[in-house]
Symmetry: D2
Subunit: 368 residues, 4 copies
């Protein structure tokens, strides 16, 4: 009987529990978890900030593991048969229906009402449907990819859920060669967005955060400028962006903070006719005063919300890790990971992520 | 010596003054004014709400007149020689430089710092550079079009500055056949946007305003639904939009109110993955609380500011009036005009526009 | 035992045969056919021009009928329960997988290799899976819509498969208000594209065909100009388009002919920087000489192929028919239908469509 | 009196002539030429393949030099005063009018009929208006940029006219992170496009040419695959592209050959729903048979012609050279240059470019 870390209710310590073994259906897969992660959403889950969550739950939406057993012949999207022993990962978002108005007419499949999400919308009573567990059960129809040999499980989890989310934001940003890109927030999504902006041919990438320790990591990935927010001079970073852009502001600004005031600041750092992509607001953290004349209409600006990911972002994420993991084009993805935690250390991991003392926390459920 | 209505300073009554005759330069044109208009911007000018306005000024940015004299041979953009007696109009925005970073690199020519605007950025001391005057002087380089015979001067001014502004907003909205379009505000810009949404193949056009009298006019142009804002039930119109759209909200919402709260309401009336176009905020009327999670990111929405017009909108406006003025495809543009005023009646016109008791006020400077 | 018209092999007369009653599965539906149609694809099928067709087949991909029986509770995409007696239609394209690289990564679902098409890719031995039959069997998972009461079955079939195909082409064309649109070919797709261009706010719609009889119909729908191709002066229509556009050519040209030379002509009728949409080439009719310098690069032109339709085009087609069938906004869809045929008359119908002597042929399988 | 290389008539050897000193007007600039180049267009000029060329001409459209004298105070687009001694370059395309239908309404300024091009549309009798000359005269209004100190004149000319042309093509290609990009042709434009595709985050860049020597250079810039066209197996490279893309073809293919057959091949190497950008056809080299069904419509493909450059491409080219010339992000632009030639050696340079024995030939008019 596998061990799993269970969030029993909001604002309660996570407990390690022994849960029943999964029952393998035709088309299903049992994974032995190698890595899962703690992301900002997990902190929101801990504090009960998401609606409709069926506590108790096993959190952990992005994970990678070793295939223990498959329910008959199961293939990945590329038509490759998934074998026991293979290293596999899967899209946490599940049951997007491709049969409703959102999916088929509005073409907004990340807003499909049928979606289920591993680690978020399943109860621990439904089975091992989250990554903070020694085993994960992949239900029939879950979209699985086996990792190419160039991509280690650690590199995959270093990308984690932040990388495809940032990829979606970068698609929305439509960066042209030479664009100046500002990224607000240097958590996993912001850092990933900054790396992807560099890869997209940005002419300059500027990253803003309040933690110097995070900015040091961003610098190590080659971003051009890092700006620390000063509590005693809260406009300094805004003015610095204008200085760095001949007074115009950035062509593209990407918000990855989840803090409402960042939206107001970001609009003021973006040039007339520029693009402002919001990707950090995954939970309700309140309102902010916006001036529609000065901050939107007069600037002739585009603002683009970015909700969730679809399979293409997940698929392309792995292709990207594969391309940029060989020796000649190396990106040191693993250096994004600040620390690994066992199941027993998860409450510490959550606290560290919440305080920002780690940039990225990964979970290794089979270590003790 | 021609008469002109001069706004001498903010919050002072407009005065009719006799001003010197224009001095005709090579490439310049003298127009005898047939119609000008009073738009919302003129009310802002009256109250000193725009920055850098060189009072005293002659307001009136969109106008149409009869050519009195040209400074040598002057041609319009189609290469047609402009003859005395011709009915001509011109783009109020002048001196866009096509030589600066905004014009050439950022491709945001409506934000060119060199722009001058008839009726707004010229002092009355600079000459007859506004439409509230018996004569208007078109400086060399002003972009002039002669009206095709299908378009009467009255039809042109019924479109006025609102029609190309709405055309720009509609371009930004990228309406697809069948889209549900909500227009917030039924002043000249909102009404024009509603008419253009109908022409663009919208599946349903819903117009919202607080004045029933304006909604009646919208209805006469064939919009599908009109919703009056109820002071005693301020969410009723929002809920009604949701009802009319299976609970989804509109595919496209166009803001044409200039009122900050409309932005918040508009976001809540737009569907996930929809487009929200802001075109009504031409002056600073304050801030509004926006929730970046609920109103932008979770909705995966696009917000698009729309500043000013360029020559293409002006040119296409006249083509549009030409097409839709013949008997078989008639749009009753002239019915947009609520009332005509002489120069002496301009203070009344400004008061009427400000109170919203007229939908559109036109000026006939050569009537008395 | 229902009668059906069966195409037994290429280039053989279609035979009316008695076939076994359908076996209703859970989620399946039996329809009594009211209307089906003969389209250009059926002529291609008759001559064996499509690959991989499992003759014998029952042709007829777009159809409408009355629900006889459902296999348990079956709902349409709007969640509405489908009742016996309801008038229903369905998307002929079936089994798009939303699970492969084409569907999920390339986002080209109309190229999904799993697609099946009623009336084309099913054998008559597989059941009543084509519209030229008294009964049609809708397999579980077929996407069904019940017709709103504003849309009669005859209006629906007047639109037929051509209308959503044209809608897809119009989406690809990105018509802006005022654009001059040329449509090459006035068969059902071309005529539908012309009607939709008018609905999209085109400034001028010009339709070209070799049959005057078809152009007369186009004229009745309000297109601005019709140009007949003259065998003795094959450049006349091209020159006429240039004349009608100040020598520039059209902003948008839509090819709906299936004839290779039309592509060359169409490029020459389109302006520099314009869009050329190809939607008529649904089967291989050979090659044409194109000059990449003169006809593509120098013109800075966009050429856009348009393959198939997805559910959104089908859904929006019905919304469109609903909107434009009431008395105030009437479009006389039914006048597109040249003639109705019984099952026994199908060989005549095929001959008439092939010769172009009818614009649109519909089938009424339950008439005799 | 400066020396210049003059092309007196088509198919005649270029002659070095002594020409009158330029007469400096207000706003004009005299440059001492440091580098000019020989590009494919110059070979077309030599053979009289462009229409309306006013022989005798001084070819050389992209050049860089040292400012000798300015006609009063002249500023560049950034507002920086241009001083004698500064290293400056300029956009060869001149007199785009921003006053005509093409510039203002069609927004196709690279098709403005007023355009003049240094080295192409000016006669040697009009002055020193081409780069194959010891001095170049920049007429008032020519758009000038001074080189930032990070960009050497040699690096600038290594980019030459090919780099902004490729930048325009890459903008048209809308590369997303991870896209597979094929570039047909490894001349200066093709090689530049390949470098820019790498910079844009392409997942794989494949370059095709018939000269192994050029492919070696491409390889040195980091492209993933190079494919040589085999005279004895002319489909091999097409099949290899399909192999490298799971049989799908490239997401994006960029044509930079000027050879009609490449267009047919390129369409066959591009995936369903992909983009095919044509940028190599700058002169008429004949026609090619295209199958509209198989190669366009069935593939649901976009084809995009790319004519000329505007100032934004030129401006961004210099920003790009600045960014990628520092030690940490170095791109070895100078290695694109195969050989330098003096004015006297120009006939040799033309022959070398025509035969493809050099990838890029630059001219140093002040060397002897």
């Amino acid at each position: 009987m596998p061990l799993a870390a269970v969030m029993t209710a909001p604002n309660q310590p996570v407990e390690v529990q022994q849960l029943p073994d999964p029952i393998l259906e035709k088309g299903g897969i049992i994974l032995e978890t190698l890595y899962s992660e703690v992301c900002g959403t997990d902190v929101h889950l801990l504090h009960g900030r998401l609606e409709g969550v069926p506590y108790p739950i096993i959190p952990g939406h992005f994970s990678v593991g070793r295939v223990v057993e498959t329910g008959g012949a199961v293939s990945d999207v590329n038509g490759k048969l998934i074998q026991p022993g293979a290293i596999a990962t899967f899209l946490d978002v599940h049951e997007t229906c491709y049969n409703c108005w959102y999916c088929l007419v509005a073409k907004a499949s990340t807003r499909c009402p049928q979606r289920k999400v591993y680690g978020v919308t399943y109860s621990a009573k439904d089975g091992l449907l989250g990554g903070w567990s020694e085993l994960i059960y992949l239900k029939p129809g879950v979209k699985v990819l086996t990792l190419p040999e160039e991509v280690s499980p650690k590199q995959f989890i270093a990308g984690g859920c932040a990388l495809p989310t940032a990829l979606h934001a970068i698609d929305r940003a439509q960066i042209q060669i030479g664009d100046v890109v500002v990224v607000q927030g240097c958590g996993p999504v912001g850092l990933s967005a900054a790396i992807l902006a560099l890869l997209s041919g940005a002419g300059k990438v500027i990253v803003i955060d309040k933690f110097e320790s995070r900015l040091v990591v961003a610098k190590s990935f080659g971003v051009d400028e890092t700006l620390a927010i000063k509590a005693d001079d809260p406009r300094q970073h805004i003015e610095r962006v204008l200085e760095l852009t001949n007074g115009h502001g950035a062509d593209v600004t990407i918000e990855a903070t989840g803090i409402p005031i960042a939206v107001k600041e970001g609009l003021n750092m973006t040039r007339n006719g520029g693009r402002y992509v919001i990707v950090g607001h995954y939970t309700n953290t309140g309102e902010i005063l916006i001036n529609p004349h000065l901050e939107i209409n007069l600037k002739h600006i585009d603002i683009r919300g970015t909700w969730g990911i679809d399979f293409s972002h997940f698929y392309r994420m792995i292709e990207l890790l594969k391309r940029h993991s060989d020796s000649s084009k190396n990106i040191a993805w693993s250096s994004i990971i600040s620390r690994s935690y066992t199941l027993k250390e998860i409450n510490q991991a959550l606290a560290d992520v919440e305080q920002g003392s780690v940039l990225k926390a990964v979970i290794q459920p089979n270590l003790s």
